[in-house]
């Protein structure tokens, strides 16, 4: 009997393989859409099941290993992110995918993500993690070898870190499934409180924590392991990046949550708390804070539209990490909320980027401009996405950001609070850069025949934009689901309102009063004189006549002053540090790549199995 969890996990992969085999335009798209839609449908159906029972479990035994899967509220939320954004990304790929190769690996990575979210033991978690990494790596490899190499190196680093951590755990616990591991660590915590000997020493615990942090940090793109992300996000199919950044990075976030689930109690008792926040979470939170700032500042200085959003993704993941790191129930809820909204708006953004690149064929900001007139639908979507990312009420980006702010500041963490404020401003900054360079200003004449978004992309964008608006005006919908994870009313209020006790946010009132305000302004506007449309050359140029021959838009180095202010800090680049290390690692990496990540699925699987067996033997 095939369980619904198996369908959720393997439907995309199956569709991908089918699309790969039946390499016929039209059919493969249809298959792929079905492949992405089926898990979504099953997940929606599972919602009702979850209302009556706490979880849906399933396990299979395969050559001695027992693979366990579970769907409960937390994994349902994350799987829904994957479902919605993955579906939208697949819709987008209908327009942008070039061949069946992309379909195979895009859908394979979706399978990997589902597997990670639904896994209930470390071994299946790891295997699906690697499937996801491998598939996304193949997607990058197709577009850019160098970027993929960087991604590969850091992924391998993360993979080994995780593998070693799993090995250590298995050696001591003797089981892989989350429940046992969690129980052991819980008992350990109790023992350490009572002062008796613990199974894991303090140093081992730190090691496991550090290894997991590295593994998940790589995937999430945490500073200073973020260096792969800008290249990998930008050097692939941009519709796929919607999934890559929107969903795959959430696997890293989910991993951090797994740290909490498995090690949380032990770590908390071992290292203590600051206020209500665990000390070990501080590491995550501060890494997150630095990630916000570094990612945001670098995003503002990019000249390539894809790079800008890649760095922006890094910056937004930082928010989620801050929320997770603070570690109170409220802040974790806020972090998951932000994970949802990040997936929604960043998925939307990358679909917009995909549309722009698909229609214009340009990626540099200096080649664009004035597209709002030519691509009104895409621009409308971009408008929603911009407002959402910038955290403008009443869109979803504000609700989640607000929760993180309140959660963090309420825990008396001034420095993190400052970082968050800086992060929200830097969000404004790079979004304006994007808006100005792409949508406004003088349009290069070669873009004069640009058409609007193709239908599938438009539909995909529409879905995400709608959710951005709906979850913003009615933030209670999401908050209600999040409360179920913890099983208590952490965020009170109606579906329109978030009530924390020390702060309230009502999306509906804001919408109403914003509409009222805009109406008042519009009345004043429409009472005024009729407007006349003028071209870009008929503007203030200090009195001089200009023609379209002149370049009137700041296309390059828009934030040069910022660059100069930060010149000292920009000189310190982790990317370059890694490159220096990498220059001698490169030969090794090339060899490794030749033998391992050579695109041969079989060899890869065998290799992993061998490593696992060796580790297991060594551990025992």
């Amino acid at each position: 009997m095939i369980n619904e969890l198996m369908i959720i996990i393997f439907a995309p992969l199956l569709a991908g393989v089918l699309a790969w085999i039946f390499d016929v335009k039209g059919i493969r798209e249809g298959v792929a859409i079905i492949g992405a839609a089926v898990p979504l449908a099953y997940l929606i159906q599972a919602y009702q099941t979850l209302a009556s029972q706490p979880s849906i479990q399933y396990s299979i035994v395969l050559s001695g290993f027992k693979f366990e899967f579970i769907l409960y509220h937390l994994s349902w939320v994350f799987a829904m992110i994957a479902g919605v954004v993955g579906f939208a990304a697949v819709l987008g790929m209908v327009s942008t995918a070039k061949d069946s190769y992309e379909w195979l690996f895009a859908l394979m990575s979706l399978t990997g993500v589902y597997g990670v979210f639904l896994a209930d033991d470390l071994i299946s978690f790891f295997i699906f993690w690697e499937i996801m990494t491998f598939a996304s790596f193949m997607m990058v490899l197709k577009y850019n070898r160098k970027a993929s190499l960087k991604y590969f190196l850091l992924s391998v680093l993360g993979a080994y870190a995780m593998l070693i951590a799993i090995g250590i755990i298995y050696a001591k616990v003797g089981a892989f499934d989350f429940t046992s591991v969690q129980r052991v660590f819980y008992q350990d915590a109790m023992r350490s409180v009572m002062g008796s000997d613990t199974l894991f020493s303090r140093n081992e615990l730190l090691l496991i924590f550090g290894l997991f942090l590295t593994a998940f940090g790589v995937k999430a793109g945490t500073f200073p392991l973020h260096v792969w992300a800008p290249d990998a996000y930008s050097e692939t199919n941009q519709s796929y990046t919607a999934m890559f950044s929107g969903v795959l990075s959430k696997a890293g976030v989910y991993g951090m949550l797994v740290i909490y689930i498995l090690l949380g109690t032990r770590l908390m008792y071992e290292f203590g708390n600051i206020g209500a926040a665990p000390k070990f979470g501080y590491v995550i939170a501060f890494l997150g804070g630095i990630t916000i700032i570094v990612g945001g500042l670098l995003a503002a200085l990019q000249e390539d539209i894809r790079k800008l959003f890649a760095y922006s993704s890094i910056s937004q993941i930082g928010y989620i990490l801050v929320g997770i790191g603070v570690g109170t129930a409220l802040s974790i809820e806020a972090a998951i909320y932000h994970a949802i909204s990040h997936a929604l708006f960043k998925g939307l953004f990358f679909l917009i980027v995909a549309t722009i690149i698909h229609r214009t064929g340009k990626t540099q900001f200096k080649d664009m401009g004035g597209l709002a007139e030519k691509m009104p639908v895409t621009f409308a979507m971009a408008f929603v996405a911009i407002l959402s990312l910038a955290g403008i009420p009443p869109l979803v980006g504000f609700a989640s950001k607000w929760l993180i702010f309140e959660a963090v500041i309420h825990q008396n963490m001034p420095i993190l609070g400052g970082m968050l404020f800086f992060g929200s401003a830097i969000g404004f900054v790079y979004l304006i850069r994007f808006t100005y360079a792409v949508w406004f200003g003088q349009r290069p004449t070669e873009l004069d025949d640009t058409k609007d978004a193709p239908l599938p992309l438009a539909i995909a964008m529409g879905i995400l934009a709608l959710l951005n608006v709906v979850f913003g005006i009615a933030p209670g919908i999401v908050a209600g689901e999040l409360n179920k994870i913890f099983g208590k009313e952490i965020i009170q209020g109606t579906i329109w309102e978030l009530n924390l006790g020390f702060g309230r946010y009502n999306g509906l009132f804001i919408t109403i009063w914003l509409v009222v305000g805009i109406l008042i302004a519009a009345v004043i506007y429409f009472l005024g004189a009729k407007v006349r449309r003028v071209p870009v050359t008929d503007t203030y140029q200090a009195g001089n006549p200009v023609t379209m021959d002149y370049n009137l838009t700041i296309r390059r180095n828009f934030f040069l002053p910022l660059k100069e202010t930060l010149a000292f800090w920009l000189r310190m680049s982790f990317d370059r540090l890694y490159q220096d290390i990498g220059s001698w690692v490169e030969d090794l990496a090339e060899t490794l790549r030749h033998y391992i990540y050579n695109g041969n699925v079989q060899a890869y699987a065998w290799y992993l199995a061998a490593i696992l067996i060796i580790l297991a033997l060594w551990g025992v």
Binding site: E373, P535, Y550
Partner: protein
């Protein structure tokens, strides 16, 4: 009427032109003439971010062809024309033209006229410096200092008005002396009071502008010229003194009463915008000191212009053939006139050498490269570029 960019492009394409932005790495910024920082002068800037990559000065908005017009007007009438070359201190073109003409004529002007001319030139310098302080502080954004400077300048305007009958264009110095005598002793007293008053107000400007932390940050290291560069480019006046060259026409080529007066020529070595500003600030103090001395000295007796029968019939006033070069120190620099006469009642050729032609075109273009857009007005103001004397 809907005109959009698309229509413009379509129209151009129908006419067989393919419009392409010049260079997508940089953009063009037209700085002036309709801009608060430039008087009727234009700089075309090629910008990268907020840095200037290339600057092209575009003068000529104020060109009226004075040098040609002067050939059509009698010797004395030209005074009424040529003073319009330098609007902030119109006495300077009057003085140089008169001095050159007098040299051709071989006239020595009476002592009283010399005293009056020196006083008028120094008053013009003070008023021009106050005007410059106003310009600088408006560009820097400290409007208070600018407003005050313009208000103090009004006191000098009132004195000018009593002396010459006009606020701005005095038409006062003529070949052979000055047009009319000092009105009365009260004027001298007023001059003394005004000088004291302005001197008492200088600390205010120091606090607001010249010793202000933000001014230092804004002007330090901006638009640096070194000595060699400044000399090669023919820069004169406070601008060259800020690079360490003590060249002041009043000392180097003394005229009028300057050999008898005691004053210092302030020289700074840095050559940046701040040094130029400070040199001007010190010179303002020196000029006030000179005026004090002049008032102390008092006007000598005697006629205020050359007694010559030919001056009775000015339209038929003829100057013997010959040529002469005369120059004075204006606040902008070395202001010179080269006058050629062929013996008729009109000059054969008048060439005015405005100081800004040296520092307002080539020097400006070179100093602006690499400057921030916020520095452009500051550099422009620190050079004290006067467009009319470029354009003539």
């Amino acid at each position: 009427m809907m005109v959009s960019q698309s229509e413009l492009v379509r129209e151009a394409r129908e006419n067989g032109m393919d419009l392409l932005p010049l260079d997508k790495d940089t953009y063009e910024l037209f700085f002036g003439p309709q801009h608060m920082a430039t008087e009727n002068f234009s700089i075309i800037l090629k910008m990268d971010g907020h840095r200037v990559v290339k600057a092209i000065a575009n003068p000529g908005f104020l060109h009226r062809g004075f040098e040609k017009l002067a050939e059509y007007r009698p010797w004395h009438t030209n005074i009424a024309l040529l003073l319009r070359i330098c609007v902030p201190e119109p006495d300077v073109p009057e003085a140089i033209y008169s001095m050159a003409t007098e040299e051709i004529l071989g006239w020595e002007i009476p002592e009283r006229a010399q005293w009056i001319r020196t006083t008028v030139l120094e008053m013009a310098r003070v008023s021009a410096y106050l005007f410059w302080i106003m310009g600088l502080s408006f560009k820097l954004g400290v409007y208070t200092a600018g407003q005050w400077a313009a208000a103090y300048r009004e006191r000098l305007m009132a004195l000018f008005e009593q002396l010459t009958g006009a606020r701005v264009y005095h038409i006062y110095t003529i070949p052979g002396g000055v047009r009319r005598d000092i009105p009365n002793d009260r004027w001298l007293r007023q001059l003394k009071d005004t000088v004291e008053y302005i001197k008492g107000k200088l600390p205010d400007f120091d606090h607001l502008v010249f010793e202000n932390y933000i001014t230092f940050r804004r002007m330090e290291g901006i638009g640096v010229m070194d000595k060699k560069f400044a000399l090669a480019e023919g820069v004169t006046g406070p601008n060259i003194r800020a690079t360490g060259v003590p060249y002041d026409v009043r000392r180097a080529d003394p005229y009028l009463l300057y050999p008898e007066l005691d004053f210092e020529v302030p020289v700074l070595k840095d050559g940046d915008a701040l040094a130029r500003a400070l040199v001007r600030r010190y010179e303002l103090e020196q000029d006030l000191y000179i005026l004090e001395q002049l008032v102390e000295m008092g006007p000598p007796g005697g006629p205020y212009k050359v007694e010559d029968p030919r001056l009775k019939n000015l339209p038929r006033f003829k100057v013997p053939a010959g040529d002469a070069f005369a120059h004075v120190e204006s606040t902008k620099g070395d202001f010179g006139a080269y006058v050629v006469s062929d013996g008729k009642n009109k000059p054969y050729r008048v060439q005015i050498r405005g100081p800004s032609i040296a520092h307002g075109i080539r020097v400006l273009e070179q100093l602006l490269v690499g400057a921030r857009i916020a520095d452009v007005p500051v550099i422009l103001m620190s050079l004290d570029n006067c467009p009319p004397d470029i354009d003539r």
